[in-house]
Symmetry: C2
Subunit: 322 residues, 2 copies
C-alpha cells in the first residue's frame, strides 16, 4: 500500500497532463480551466485506495479514478449553472467566465470524456464498472433534482434530506471506492461492502458540512460561518430544529428567516439551536453513519494494514475543522 | 431482411414502453414527455438496418438503437436551451414547459440512460460500441459548439460549414449504422464502410435541408419557406452566394440582411441565388456526398438484396420534398 500523498501526486500529474483538443476553443478552454482549479481530489484517490485495499496497485485503477474526478467536475459545472454560483474554489465558474451555453456544452462533453476514461480499463471489468458508474451518475442527477425541489417545499422530512445528500454526494464516494475494488477483481460482496463504507462516510461528511457551517472556528474555516443560515438553507440542523422546537420556538425560527441583521440572525439561530441540542443531535446522526461505514470495512477480509489508509482518511475527513 | 415499417413499429413500441422511475417527477416527467413527441426515429432504424445488412436481426441491436435515439433526444433538449427554441415538433420544448435547470438536468440523466442501454448489448461487442459512441458523442458536441461560434463569425468558409454539419448531425448517422454492424460482428473494414455511407448520406441530407428551406413547395413543406433567410442563418446557400457574388451582388446580399419586409427579403434572396446558380451548386455538393456514400456501400461484400433497404432509404431521404 502506497501512502496517500504519493498517490495524490501521481494523480495530480495525470490530471494536469489530461489532453483536450485545442479546437473548438470555446468547448475545451473551459475544461482546461476548470480541471486545474484544484480541489482535494478526494474521489479519485478513493478509487485508487479501493484497488490498493485488495492488494492491487492504485495506478492500475487510474483511468477509473480520473473518470470519477471528471464526472465530479462535470456535475459541478452544471450545478453551478443551476445554483447561479458565481465562484467555485474562489475562481469564476464556467458559466460566469464564459456563458451558460458554453457551460452546458462543455459539461456535456466532459461527461462523455468520463466514459472514455472508464473504457481505458480492461475489457473484462468494463461491464461491471459501467454498471456501477451509470447507476451512480443517475443517482447524482436525482439528488441534484431533489435538492432543487426542496428549495420550494416547506415539508421536507429529515429522512428525505438524508436521502437527498446520499444521492447528491455520498453515492459517488461509494462508487469511487467500488470501482477501485472492481479493477482489483475483489469479490462481489467485498465490492458492495466498500461501497457501503464510502456511501456512509459520505453521508457523515455531508452532515458534518452542515454542522461546520454554523459551528466552525471562523479563524480556520475557509468561508463565512453561518452562510447556510443567512441563505435560509434547509440544512439538517434547521430541519432538526423544526422537529424539536415547541410552538414558541417554531415562531422564533420563522421570525429568524426574515431577520435582516446578519450577525444577529446567525447568533440568535446558534443560541436557539444550542438550547434545542441541535449540534449534538446532528453529531449523533453523523456518528451513526460513521459506525455503519466502519462496520462495513470491518467485514472485509483483508489485513488491518491494508485498511489503515481508509480508516485514517475517514478519521481525517470527519475530524476536520474546515 | 425485414421491411422498414416492421422494424419501425417494433422500435416505436420499445421506445413507448421505455421505463423511467416515477420520482423525482421534475427529472423524469420531461423525459417521458419528450421521448413521446415522436419524430422519424430515423437514427435507431439505421442501427437495426446496420445489423440486418450483415444478416443479423435488427432486433439484436435494439438496445444500441434505443441508445442512439436517446442520445439524439438528449442533444435536442440541450440544443433547444442553447438555441432558445420555444417549440420542437410543434410542442413546447422542455426548458419552456418546465425550466432551464430542469432541461439541463433531465438532459444529463438522458445521456447516462443512453449508456445504460448500450451496456445491455453483449459484453464482447461493448468496448467497440463504446469506442464509436464516445467518439461520436464528443463530435456532436463539437459540431454544436462550431455552430454557435459561427453565429458571431463573418468569415466562415464552405469547408468549415461542411465540417460543422458533418460533426453536428452526420456522424451520428454513421455511428448509428456502424453500431448495428458491430452488433452483427461485421469485419472492421465493413464497419468503417457503413459508417462512411451514413456520414455522407448525413451531409447530403443536411445540404438538402438548406436547399429545401428556400426552394421547398410551400404546400408540402412543414414549416415556413425561407425561415433560414429571415434568420440571416449562415447556410451553405448563403456562404456559396458570397463566394460566387461580384462586389455589387455582395452589397446586395449585405442589404438583404437588414431588409425588414419579409416576403421581399425571401423573394429577392431567391432571385439573386437563382442568378448565381446557388441551387445547382448546392445540389452538386449534395450529389457528391451521395455518390461517396453509395460507393462505400458498393464496396461491402453482401448481397444486393441486403443493401436494398439502405439504398431505398437514402433515395427517399434525398428526394424528399419536406
Amino acid at each position: 500500500m502506497q501512502d496517500i500523498s504519493k498517490l495524490s501526486a501521481f494523480l495530480e500529474n495525470e490530471i494536469s497532463t489530461f489532453d483536450f483538443p485545442s479546437q473548438p476553443a470555446n468547448l475545451y478552454d473551459p475544461l482546461r480551466y476548470f480541471l486545474t482549479l484544484g480541489g482535494k481530489r478526494m474521489r479519485p484517490i478513493l478509487t485508487m485506495l479501493g484497488a490498493e485495499l485488495f492488494d492491487v496497485s492504485g495506478k492500475n485503477a487510474v483511468h477509473a479514478a480520473i473518470a470519477i474526478e471528471i464526472f465530479h467536475n462535470f456535475s459541478l459545472i452544471h450545478d453551478d449553472i443551476m445554483d447561479e454560483a458565481p465562484l467555485r474554489r474562489k475562481q469564476p465558474t464556467v458559466h460566469t467566465k464564459w456563458n451558460t451555453n458554453i457551460a452546458i456544452l462543455s459539461g456535456d462533453v466532459l461527461l462523455v470524456k468520463a466514459y472514455q476514461e472508464i473504457c481505458k480499463q480492461e475489457a473484462k471489468v468494463l461491464p461491471r464498472l459501467l454498471e456501477i458508474f451509470n447507476r451512480t451518475a443517475i443517482e447524482v442527477c436525482e439528488g441534484q433534482q431533489l435538492d432543487m425541489d426542496f428549495e420550494t417545499r416547506n415539508n421536507v422530512s429529515i429522512a428525505e434530506y438524508i436521502e437527498m445528500i446520499r444521492l447528491k454526494t455520498s453515492v459517488l464516494l461509494g462508487c469511487a471506492l467500488e470501482m477501485g475494488a472492481v479493477v482489483a477483481e475483489a469479490k462481489k460482496e467485498d465490492q458492495e461492502l466498500i461501497y457501503t463504507f464510502g456511501e456512509n462516510i459520505g453521508v457523515a461528511f455531508q452532515i458534518q458540512d452542515d454542522i461546520l457551517d454554523l459551528y466552525a472556528d471562523p479563524e480556520k474555516f475557509g468561508k463565512q460561518v453561518g452562510g447556510d443560515v443567512l441563505a435560509n438553507k434547509k440544512t439538517l440542523l434547521l430541519l432538526k430544529a423544526y422537529e424539536l422546537a415547541n410552538p414558541a420556538e417554531i415562531e422564533e425560527l420563522n421570525q429568524l428567516k426574515i431577520q435582516s441583521n446578519q450577525s444577529l440572525k446567525i447568533d440568535s439561530t446558534r443560541n436557539l439551536f444550542d438550547k434545542l441540542g441541535i449540534r449534538e443531535a446532528a453529531r449523533a446522526m453523523m456518528d451513526e453513519h460513521y459506525v455503519i461505514a466502519l462496520q462495513a470495512l470491518e467485514q472485509i477480509n483483508v489485513s488491518e494494514s491494508n485498511k489503515k489508509p481508509l480508516k485514517d482518511l475517514a478519521d481525517m475527513l470527519l475530524h476536520r475543522e474546515i
